[in-house]
Symmetry: C2
Subunit: 408 residues, 2 copies
């Protein structure tokens, strides 16, 4: 297959398997100026599939950087409500949300952390309602990746530029099953496999998970009525979609006050445009009470975003024999790295991870232990040493993963 053919299949998979576009639906596409070739294929295909209207959320590294570098100091804490309202109104009008990510891990390296933190905080605070609305699955949404110059350079620093971009594309195509014989069929089978883990865990109704390795000893309480998800999801009105491509994880909702012990991050992470290589956290009653990191300022700003930022909103299990982990590549991007290792997330929880979440009031959700925040930030904790146990109501521990792999 030529690159063009693969790209066309990828565009089609994003729209059919990911967004599950139906005639008459509207789409917002967030993309980077380096993704134009893919976006053009997606837009054309979307209209052919019957899409009604497409809104572009254009991003450009240089323009973004200009804002972080040159925005006047007295404007750092402002974000325009007219823009936040538009995003929320798009959700409310039922726009499907497609995000194409092309991370540039080093983009903000030279910018003072405090500036980055204030700009991001103003934005996430202003966007909190639309983010929550999105995470409540009122609309179908998908996050997928596109290779780009800067991302490829960060992943393959020793390769010539063109070669690095191509190699990253090949890895994206492999991880998203583009190069398989029947990609849609392959996604169906993969989804069915994730659904098996999901239903096993849903039947077990563990009250806690226990993560153990040389670096970690952490218990994560699960909310009463928690639901494990894996692979495809459903909107509140019952339409299927695949929120991440690739996806290898099975995830549920931690109880915001029942996380205790210590945990060590096992893969580097980009936070506010900075590469965080080491992070060790101590939790007590659900809250981070101590941490060590090579980027303490960046972590401090993240955890102080709001009252929910230092508590967990997601716990996810990924086998270390995931095809992404097998590539041996560190993608320096959450979408890929979170599907290479078990992980936790600070901040906002997903509403579809709790029974009847969509008919509960905000107060009921909080009482049940659901976390709320203007941020949602995954960090990887799994590795080939890690065991994960499910703790039953009577305190028994049953193995779910041993040496990083499923044993159920």
């Amino acid at each position: 297959m030529t690159f063009q053919e693969k790209l066309a299949i990828y565009a089609d998979l994003i729209l059919s398997v990911g967004l599950n576009v139906k005639p008459g639906e509207n789409i917002q596409i967030k993309f980077d100026s380096q993704n134009l070739e893919l976006v053009r294929l997606i837009v054309k295909r979307a209209y052919q599939m019957g899409a009604a209207h497409i809104v572009y959320d254009f991003q450009d590294d240089e323009m973004n950087l200009a804002r972080y570098q040159h925005l006047n100091d007295d404007l750092l804490d402002d974000f325009p409500s007219v823009v936040a309202d538009f995003k929320l109104n798009l959700y409310k009008a039922g726009y499907l949300q497609l995000s194409l990510v092309s991370p540039n891990p080093d983009l903000l390296k030279q910018v003072e952390s405090a500036r980055v933190g204030r700009i991001n905080k103003a934005r996430s605070k202003s966007m909190q309602e639309s983010m929550r609305y999105g995470m409540e699955n009122h609309s179908k949404w998908v996050v997928a990746a596109a290779s780009s110059k800067d991302w490829a350079k960060a992943v393959f620093p020793t390769l010539p530029e063109e070669e690095a971009i191509s190699l990253l594309w090949e890895n994206i195509f492999t991880a998203t099953r583009v190069t398989m014989k029947d990609p849609k069929e392959a996604w169906l089978k993969h989804d069915a496999r994730l659904k098996e883990y999901q239903s096993y865990l849903n039947q077990k109704r563990y009250c806690k998970l226990h993560f153990v390795s040389e670096l970690t000893d952490l218990t994560v309480g699960l909310v009463e009525g928690h639901i494990w998800n894996g692979g495809s999801e459903k909107t509140v009105s019952g339409e299927a979609f695949m929120s991440n491509m690739p996806v290898e994880e099975v995830w549920t909702m931690p109880n915001t006050i029942e996380v205790n012990g210590y945990v060590t991050m096992t893969k580097p992470l980009i936070v506010s445009g900075k590469l965080v290589s080491t992070l060790k956290l101590v939790f007590k009653h659900g809250e981070v009470v101590e941490y060590e990191s090579d980027q303490p300022d960046t972590i401090k700003l993240l955890l102080e975003s709001d009252s929910g930022a230092k508590r967990l909103g997601e716990v996810a299990l990924v086998s270390i024999d995931s095809p992404i982990e097998k590539t041996g590549i560190h993608f320096k991007n959450t979408l890929f790295d979170e599907n290479a290792a078990s992980h936790l997330a600070f901040g906002q929880a997903y509403l579809d991870n709790i029974e009847d979440g969509n008919i509960m009031s905000l107060e009921e959700r909080k009482e049940r232990g659901m976390n709320h925040s203007s941020i949602h930030k995954d960090f990887m904790v799994g590795n080939k040493e890690m065991a994960v146990y499910g703790v039953t109501n009577d305190g028994q521990e049953e193995a779910i993963m041993i040496k990083g792999q499923w044993v159920i």
Copy 2:
């Protein structure tokens, strides 16, 4: 000067002379994917000048074309109100409006006129309120141009691509005074010259204009209390801006029911993506009652957009010794071609072309003879044969232009 230096001066002129950006102001930039280099300079410079937030209105020829080609037939008459509302809300929130145009005259050549017409009509109808709001000068706004592959190819069809793009840039730089010794000073002087014509015409208070050439014999009544504008304008709150760069015209408001005679278009025009080469119109009591064109379907759709589309909203005088006309180039773009020849416009009138327009009710404006429409489309009627006379209250004709040049 290198190209980079000229482009940086151009970016600065657009922001300082055009938008007159002040610290804390917000900007929306409409641009084409081919303009990224210029947009990046503008964004960086805008933040350095103290801009608070920048919203991108991204356009791409291929994506636009995909919509015209592939949008389902039953969706052609729909435009999402959530998008129209956002545009209006940006105006209401005081966002300055910068449009960078890179026309692609042949883009929609292969698309059925009826499809183009229906899609455009749905959009302009939905956008009518925000368009009117914009034309009422609540915010500062500017339209400027950027060279691009397809535009350059259309203007210089025989040149190699790179050469055509460069030559078009050079002509844009010349027309916008980028290459002059002190570009800002040059704009001040030019503005002062246009203001002289403006105040002469404002003192004269002609009740009609009479356009005469071999091809045209048209009288255009002016509304009572009409105001001539030329060069820089003021928002309703009194802030200066330059709405077009380049600008060579002095313009005012025709009376919507007092246009009589015939007029022949003197330069080709792009309408809904189609090149219209010939157009002859007969007006009676302000309305087009007959027309001949090589693109009758396209003109029909334009004039039938709404009840104001076949009446005039602007009359503008441009000397044929304008630097743009002197290049001898047909730019196939209204921004340039309208500043090379006297012109008229179908559709919506500008509120600042009538005294106290901003405190009149819509009914009062209509009674005065101001035209309202969801479209505003300029077409060129001046040439080196044309005379323009001002008709005084007692029926005397005084020469304003002879052989296409100012005689006042």
